[in-house]
């Protein structure tokens, strides 16, 4: 992770003005999505690709464009490399971007990535000229393979999508960060602000979340909380935290006590 507080955050050479990437799913309305995007200060947000529904009111893209936010289509719901590649190609055609958040899940219950299909899809999409941001599990080896396959970032989970369980295995995230030469984005599992701060303290370059904000009781307020938490965690990482000590260490002088 860049060692200057004002080092720009870049993915595939594109500078992003925020390290918080927002998913747009789970919100009750376009109005809430708009408030959440505003509150988060995000510069990149995900969308899913689905069949046109004539009943839909309003335009998601207008909301996103009005805020000047870059779009990151995902392949949510795909179960095989072939489906994911096809969905990415449709997204490129529809949204005129070659960026894709690659998701290839193994089942609907855990929504966990399928490591083999994911790696196959990543290789195929890179070969097809895509800028691939894969949603992966927290396995340091798979993260390395994805980077070797040419992915522009790796996006390990903290916990399964939508669980809000935070970062289940910080040690794995540290291993991924220590190895990676592309940005590491903590994706999925974030439940509250301290989780997002911890992700950055572990050395992640950014955080991607949706449910934690869109399904909070007050989404817009939670969006500002997450923005502040990402800033706080990054600054803390760069500031160099104190070591954990087993015994106490006084913060007032021991000497000079008056004799009363």
């Amino acid at each position: 992770m860049a060692e200057h507080i004002d080092a720009p955050f870049e993915i595939a050479g594109v500078r992003l003005t925020s390290r918080l990437i927002m998913g747009t799913g789970g919100a009750p309305s376009l109005q809430v999505i708009d408030e959440v995007l505003a509150g988060s200060g995000t510069a990149l947000c995900t969308v899913a690709m689905r069949r046109v529904d004539p009943a839909t009111q309003g335009s998601l893209l207008d909301v996103i464009d009005a805020r000047g936010i870059r779009i990151l289509p995902n392949t949510a719901g795909c179960r095989t490399a072939a489906e994911a590649v096809r969905t990415a190609q449709l997204a490129r055609e529809a949204l005129e971007t070659d960026w894709v958040k690659l998701e290839v899940i193994a089942d609907e219950r855990t929504l966990l990535p399928d490591p083999v299909e994911l790696l196959d899809a990543a290789q195929a999409l890179v070969a097809d000229g895509f800028t691939v941001l894969p949603y992966t599990n927290d396995d340091p080896v798979l993260a390395r393979r994805l980077e070797q396959a040419g992915c522009a970032a790796v996006m390990p989970l903290g916990a399964p999508i939508g669980t809000g369980l935070g970062i289940g295995n910080p040690h794995n995230i540290e291993l991924i960060v220590s190895d990676a030469t592309v940005p590491v984005i903590l994706d999925a599992g974030i439940g509250t602000a301290s989780d997002a701060a911890l992700a950055m303290e572990l050395g992640c370059d950014g955080v991607l979340l949706a449910s934690a904000v869109t399904r909070a009781r007050r989404p817009a307020l939670m969006a500002t909380a997450m923005a502040a938490a990402v800033e706080a965690g990054r600054a803390a990482r760069l500031a160099g935290r104190i070591p954990r000590r087993h015994h106490a260490h006084a913060s007032s002088p021991i000497e000079g006590m008056p004799v009363l």
Binding site: G23, T24, G25, G26, A27, L30, I33, T46, V47, A48, M49, R50, R51, V52, D53, P54, T56, S59, L60, L61, I71, L72, P73, N74, A76, Q89, L90, A91, E93, A94, L95, K101, E103, A210
Partner: protein, 66 residues
């Protein structure tokens, strides 16, 4: 003539272009993609692409997600 759009049979007037079909369903062509009988149809060809009877058409667009 009859075509299948997103899994539903539909009657449309002969000579309807893909662009017209999309605008009619999605409001605008922005942010949409089309697959006809399993083949992605490039955006630039939509205005001149005349839908033919019996084609299976998938109209896809961006929705909140992720």
């Amino acid at each position: 003539m009859r075509v299948a759009v997103n899994g539903h049979d539909l009657d449309i007037s002969d000579g309807t272009s893909l662009l017209a079909l999309i605008e009619q369903h999605a409001g605008s062509a922005r942010g949409s993609a089309v697959v006809v009988d399993g083949v992605v149809v490039p955006r630039r060809t939509w205005p001149d692409y005349a839908v033919r009877p019996g084609q299976h058409i998938e109209l896809i667009t961006a929705v909140p997600g992720g």
